[in-house]
């Protein structure tokens, strides 16, 4: 680990530390630029910074910086780039990729590579200077062998004077912001059970919230809160209820399917301070495609959860695809928005764009369905949602095994079948963005169908650290993508910008622009209202991460990590043959006027 800290910086830190030491700050050690829970709650009051993974607790990924706008975005140019590491392979993976969201605070940027190294970069002066790199020495074999979908790490969080990050091999690490030295670390997930961690932590009060991946390896999913002052676990809520908990009755088999029932939580959630509720998405049940193995609705898989932030207690849930036979998980982030409702009321919504191809708005105070609509061009697994409940029209609560549109649904009777959307979605982990002024919600879409082949599972086939999927997908059909905008006041599609390749990166919204990218290399800016393409730059590497924007020295920048990894180039590449030529890479791009 090298310390590149410049003299100017240490001097400034020392000075500010003295100032901070005079003021007494409860619970937190006094230090320059420290990130307090209050600052996180008011992240939008620091327009030049990108303090939280999804920009703010509501997960809008909206920045009101407008120096770069519709009128001048055509002049956007590369300001600087930085080569990062972590491309090496491990386990079943030939290389790592970049899926992270950069965090920026007062001109200092923090990014991660796929193996969880954290880089602190000074962005002052129109250039990037690497100050330090913290390499957590992630166990490549141990973690890489049970990562279903790539060597990924989606970024850090800031708290106090610490940078909080995860590693694929299941650790939560606190690194000193100034020195890059590891302050402490804690094992949160256990790769011996098939658990890995790819998401960025969410900081709520003095806690780091961790989600887990592994539903393809027979885990029982959870969300865990670690107290950052004591480094102890505050709560851990399992997404598959235990024997004496409500929801357990939705696992109706006699072979203990719940114990390996999946329900991963690998996408960072959101937080509603008004009701002290964490809203977090839950992934698919396991085995993915053999739903006859696990009769019942399989709560809380494929659900959005509202959790009490202090206790982790489940306050409400909304399930999208009961007894899922498609791998249509609901790990996606919930965007918390307020829109005018009938009779001068305010609707407090949680928006989620699901793998199953439908976008949902639920009342985030109680989990009740408000509206839903398909956001992909083609859906074949159901004829639509029940307008009252939002459940798939064919859902029959009296049935133990759901067939939905039986003609296309994978089952033990229908072992090879094509489904739309395909099992990647719809919409996968790449985040949406919401423009509160235009009331438009932008979804990064995978317009897809794919083929599912079912393999019957038995308890004897369940083995630690081995796949537990009940079949697998293949790609006989080309997959494309789009950026699809939804008008949140009407719950209708407002526009669709189609792209030759699936959207594997996610979205950034500014007052009149939308930024996104393509796995074929392009970063682009679209008109926020019409979705017309206004600017494009080809990075030459696959875009697999979301763009962000920040300002430093009074100037606005757009930043994005570039390096195709993740699930796509191992499992889904046949649907996009041209992407086979994309080279592994690990590069940060920063643009300005």
């Amino acid at each position: 680990m090298k310390d590149f800290t410049r003299h100017r910086l240490s001097l400034r830190a020392a000075l500010l530390a003295t100032v901070a030491a005079v003021a007494t700050i409860a619970a937190l050690p006094g230090k320059a630029d420290e990130v307090t829970p209050e600052r996180l709650l008011n992240a939008d009051k620091e327009p030049g910074n990108w303090l939280l993974h999804h920009k703010d607790f509501s997960a809008t990924r909206f920045s009101n910086l407008s120096e770069i706008n519709k009128g001048n975005v055509k002049d956007l140019k590369v300001a600087w780039t930085m080569q990062l590491g972590g491309v090496e392979g491990g386990g079943i993976w030939t290389h790592g990729g970049l899926e992270g969201t950069p965090i920026v605070e007062n001109g200092m940027m923090y990014v991660t590579d796929g193996w969880g190294s954290v880089y602190k970069i000074d962005t002052h002066g129109g250039k990037g200077t690497l100050l330090w790199k913290m390499d957590p020495k992630t166990d490549h074999d141990w973690a890489g062998a049970v990562a279903c979908c790539g060597v990924d790490n989606r970024g850090v969080a800031l708290w106090g004077n610490l940078v909080i990050s995860h590693t694929l091999d299941g650790r939560l690490i606190a690194t000193d912001k100034e020195t890059g030295q590891v302050a402490w670390q804690r094992q949160v997930a256990d790769p011996d059970k098939g658990e890995v961690v790819t998401g960025a932590p969410l900081i709520v009060k003095n806690m780091a919230i961790t989600g887990v991946a592994g539903a393809e390896y027979g885990i029982r999913g959870w969300i865990a809160a670690t107290d950052l002052t004591t480094q102890k676990e505050v709560w851990r809520t399992y997404t598959i209820p235990g024997k004496d908990q409500p929801g357990h009755e939705t696992w109706k088999d006699d072979q203990n399917a719940a114990a390996s029932g999946g329900g991963s939580t690998w996408v960072t959630g959101s937080y509603d301070p008004a009701s002290n509720t964490i809203v977090w998405g839950v992934g698919n049940p396991g085995p993915d495609w053999d739903n006859e193995y696990r009769p019942g609705d399989n709560l809380y898989t494929d659900s959005s959860l509202g959790l009490d932030a202090d206790t982790g207690k489940i306050k409400w849930h909304y399930q999208h695809t009961p007894n899922d036979p498609y791998d249509y998980d609901s790990v996606a982030e919930n965007v918390l928005v307020d829109v005018p409702g009938p009779n001068g009321s305010t609707e407090k919504l949680a928006l989620e764009a699901d793998r199953n191809g439908f976008a949902y708005a639920v009342d985030r105070t109680n989990g009740k369905f408000v509206w839903g609509l398909p956001f992909v061009k083609k859906v074949t697994w159901t004829k639509g949602l029940d307008p009252e409940t939002g459940k798939p029209a064919e859902y029959d609560p009296s049935k133990q095994v759901q067939l939905y549109n039986a003609a296309v649904t994978p089952s033990r009777q229908n072992k090879v079948t094509d489904i739309c959307p395909g099992n990647m979605g719809g919409k996968n982990w790449p985040p949406t963005a919401y423009n509160p002024e235009l009331k438009l919600w932008y979804i990064p879409v995978i317009e897809s169908c794919n083929r599912i082949t079912v393999e019957e599972e038995t308890p004897a086939k369940l083995k630690k650290r081995e796949f537990w999927t009940g079949g697998g997908p293949s790609q006989p059909v080309r997959i494309t993508g789009s950026v699809t905008a939804i008008d949140v006041t009407s719950g209708k599609i407002a526009g669709k910008f189609e792209t030759p390749f699936p959207n594997l990166g996610g979205i950034l919204a500014t007052p009149d622009l939308v930024f996104s990218g393509q796995p074929s290399g392009e970063v682009m800016a679209l008109d926020g209202k019409t979705l017309a393409k206004l600017w494009e730059f080809n990075t030459g590497g696959g875009v697999n991460a979301p763009p962000i924007t920040f300002s430093v020295d009074g100037k606005q920048y757009v930043a994005i990590l570039v390096g195709l990894g993740g699930a796509w180039d191992k499992w889904f590449i046949d649907a996009t043959p041209e992407l086979k030529k994309m080279q592994p890479g690990s590069m940060l791009y920063v643009f300005s006027l």
């Binding site: 074999d141 062998a145 999927t469 079949g471």
Partner: protein
């Protein structure tokens, strides 16, 4: 063979090809088994080079370290533990891949300058197997085949000893097998300690 690839339907032609191979397999298997027992006792393993290739050429990426392959997002790579192929057939399969499946070819110029299953690129057409990320020389392919024959083919469930032999002492990958081993010991009725 209970194991069927999930994703890749075989053509009749391949079915025949494999059938032919199997007829020849039984005899060689006996020989291979005899060879394995002899080699196992030695400390310097002559198939170490093959193991290195098994890692470097990323056989691990699809067949896993233990060779069992197994389900998952990409469908099944066949189990090399349960394979009935002979050394020669493994060499051919690695060099030429398997048409119409995800098993890549590892010989430079396969189906072009080097004929595979009596077929050229034109003959194999849309069933052309994928090209491997790394090409292997004939000697390397022989070495990896020897490694498969002596350390993977015909083995039962993967165990701690095999895992440590692959990853080295202290690898956390192997801990789950250690746990397995100790529960096996605990439930054993023979009274012997391991």
């Amino acid at each position: 063979m209970s194991f069927r690839p999930l994703l890749f339907a075989r053509t009749d032609r391949q079915e025949k090809m494999i059938g032919l191979n199997r007829a020849a397999a039984a005899f060689v298997m006996v020989a291979a088994a005899a060879m394995t027992t002899g080699a196992a006792a030695q400390s310097a393993d002559p198939t170490d080079a093959g193991k290195a290739i098994f890692k470097r050429a990323n056989c691990v990426g699809c067949h896993k370290w233990h060779g069992n392959g197994g389900g998952g997002y990409g469908g099944d790579a066949l189990s090399l533990r349960k394979t009935e192929l002979t050394r020669e057939q493994i060499i051919e399969t690695v060099g030429c891949g398997r048409p119409g499946t995800g098993m890549p070819f590892f010989t430079r110029g396969a189906y072009d300058t080097v004929k595979c299953y009596e077929m050229t690129r034109q003959d194999v057409g849309g069933r052309m197997p994928p090209e491997a990320n790394t090409f292997l020389r004939p000697k390397d392919i022989e070495a990896v085949a020897d490694y498969v024959i002596s350390h993977i083919k015909g083995k039962g469930e993967p165990n701690y000893g095999e895992c440590i032999a692959f990853f080295g002492e202290g690898s956390r990958v192997c801990d789950v097998y250690k746990a397995q081993q100790s529960t096996d010991t605990n439930t054993a009725t023979s009274g012997q300690s391991k």
